[in-house]
Amino acid sequence: MADQTISSERFAVLVEQAGLKLTPEQFAELHDGYRFVQRMQRVVRRARDRAAEPAHIFVHPRAERP
């Protein structure tokens, strides 16, 4: 579950910064959807050791070649 916690005025600033030109309907829908962004941010932002690196490589062992 995710709760709405941003005002229309503040969300309009985010939209402008993003360079998006929205219809009133798109603005209202994205404003509503922003609660999911906030939930995702809450879920991934937590105290971590500074040495906890991101998953940034996807290299797997190479097979032996003749």
């Binding site: 999911f36 962004v37 939930r39 932002r45 690196e53 991101p54």
Partner: protein
């Protein structure tokens, strides 16, 4: 007999012994598409003449490969040289690539015949969207219901007998979700196992390509053609490919299976509310499936991981960030080219920060390590797929992707191989679970899925619309 009722394995034997020709098989599928797809909408382009020409070129020739004369379909995000590839979007409505997806090159090299391009959610995320140029596919078990997505057309066509198999893509469950709702098999291979070159991307580090089939044995046959290193896919892994069919057995003696129950029994409701509670029928089907695995000789142990939402929201945040980066310029300059759902979902990526993305990737590493450790001493994991039957197709909210529990995304995050297999029915609609494994152990995952199939008959049950056409039985 109607040859479209045959699995790939059965049709291949019939072609090999001369009792079935690739032309007859291809024409039978094309007849079914002509008769039934007006109701199902699983194809956006049917390649009748090309398919028959390809079948004729194979007829009477030595076996070309594991898929000699087998008619298949491709989700319309797989590029096909000289053949329109739209990604389900007005943005690419007239796009005709000059190269083939590497996967299609390999399938064609193994003898597969392309019947056509199949409906997809826009850029593999925006659907079901009735504002797009192509109507959303309908669930063949009940056309008022949703087949899930984004590989919707492919799953519908396989389940309804409009192709023998097909290719989907999976960033958060887009192969395994439709496989579950349509009552077929879907495999998301290990990240790096199957080339993504020439497939429209949604999210670079989460995208996987894989097959949708009627049985696990057919999945193994498709994987024999698909798996392997592609030096031109930056994420491709140079890891030996085993003989997948050899690994298929009917017993599971000595196999240790971890069962992740808390995802659906506790975490879904805790994070997403009562609407995400599994149905009673689903819980019973999942438990019965676990008992079947035990009866086959496997030893089951409960496994506890981090809460489901830790996996899901890391997956979703990474997907949003990567997808928005891909579409940012078009969203600013030509937003009118996109359907409602695609724009509303992916534009949320505009409001994420670089730090959000890095934190999600840090969490991803932690969860990958956790999952790898949980697999220590265990051969495969089983966990829920969609925990109830397919909902009505007109009841899918814009933000369904984010507001309900999903059980497939964790394995995109970890890159693990994950297979969806049918485990029962509720209200005439299919139910499924997932079997996930260690990196590059698709063989182990398919072994368990195949043994489960041999002990049950869910995979043999077909929707009524898949029955032979009049006069073809």
């Amino acid at each position: 007999m109607d040859p479209t009722q045959l699995t790939i394995a059965e049709a291949s034997r019939a072609i090999a012994d001369g009792s079935l020709s690739p032309v007859a098989l291809t024409e039978a599928y094309l007849d079914r598409i002509a008769a039934l797809d007006g109701e199902l909408h699983s194809y956006v382009l049917v390649l009748r003449d090309q398919a028959i020409d390809a079948a004729r070129s194979l007829a009477g020739r030595p076996r070309q490969g594991a898929l000699h004369g087998i008619p298949i379909g491709l989700k319309d995000i797989y590029k096909t040289r000289g053949i329109r590839t739209t990604a389900g979007s007005r943005r690419y409505l007239d796009h005709t690539p000059d190269q083939d997806a590497e996967t299609w090159v390999r399938l064609r090299g193994a003898g597969a015949i392309l019947l056509g391009k199949q409906e997809t959610h826009e850029f593999a995320i925006g659907g079901p969207d009735f504002t797009l140029p192509f109507a959303p596919s309908r669930n063949p078990w009940n056309t008022a219901h949703y087949p899930a997505g984004s590989s919707s057309g492919t799953a519908v066509a396989v389940a309804a007998g409009l192709c023998a198999a097909g290719m989907g893509s999976d960033t958060g469950g887009s192969i395994r979700g439709p496989a579950a709702y349509c009552g077929i098999v879907g495999l998301k291979p290990t990240y790096g196992r199957v080339s993504r070159r020439g497939v429209f991307p949604l999210s670079y580090t989460l995208d996987h390509c894989g097959p949708l089939t009627r049985t696990v044995e057919d999945c193994a046959i498709m994987m024999a053609a698909l798996a392997g290193y592609d030096p031109q896919d930056p994420a491709s892994a140079d890891v030996p490919v085993p003989d997948y069919r050899v690994a298929l057995t009917s017993r599971l003696d000595g196999i240790r299976i971890g069962v992740i129950r808390h995802f659906h029994e506790h975490d879904a409701v805790a994070a997403f509310g009562p609407d995400s509670a599994p149905s009673a029928a689903y819980t019973a089907a999942f438990d019965a499936a676990c008992h079947t695995l035990e009866a086959l000789g496997a030893r089951l142990v409960d496994v506890k991981l981090s809460p489901l939402i830790d996996y899901l929201d890391a997956n979703r945040l990474i997907m949003l960030a990567e997808a928005y980066a891909l579409h940012e310029q078009d969203f600013r300059e030509r937003p009118q080219d996109f359907g409602h759902h695609m724009f509303a979902r992916i534009a949320l990526g505009a409001f994420l920060t670089a730090a959000d993305y890095v934190e999600a990737m840090r969490q991803r590493r932690e969860l990958c390590v956790e999952f790898a450790r949980a697999l220590d001493g265990i051969d495969v994991m089983v966990s829920a797929n969609s925990t109830g039957p397919a909902p009505p197709i007109d009841a899918i909210p814009t933000y369904s992707t984010f507001e309900r529990a999903s059980y497939t995304g964790p394995y995109n995050l970890t890159g693990s191989p994950a297979l969806s297999v049918p485990i029962g029915f509720e209200g005439g609609l299919p139910l499924a679970f997932q079997i996930a494994g260690k990196p590059f152990d698709e063989a182990g995952v398919m072994r368990v899925g195949h043994a489960f199939e041999q002990a049950t008959d869910y995979h043999r049950q077909r929707p009524p619309i898949a029955a032979p056409l009049p006069g073809r039985s």
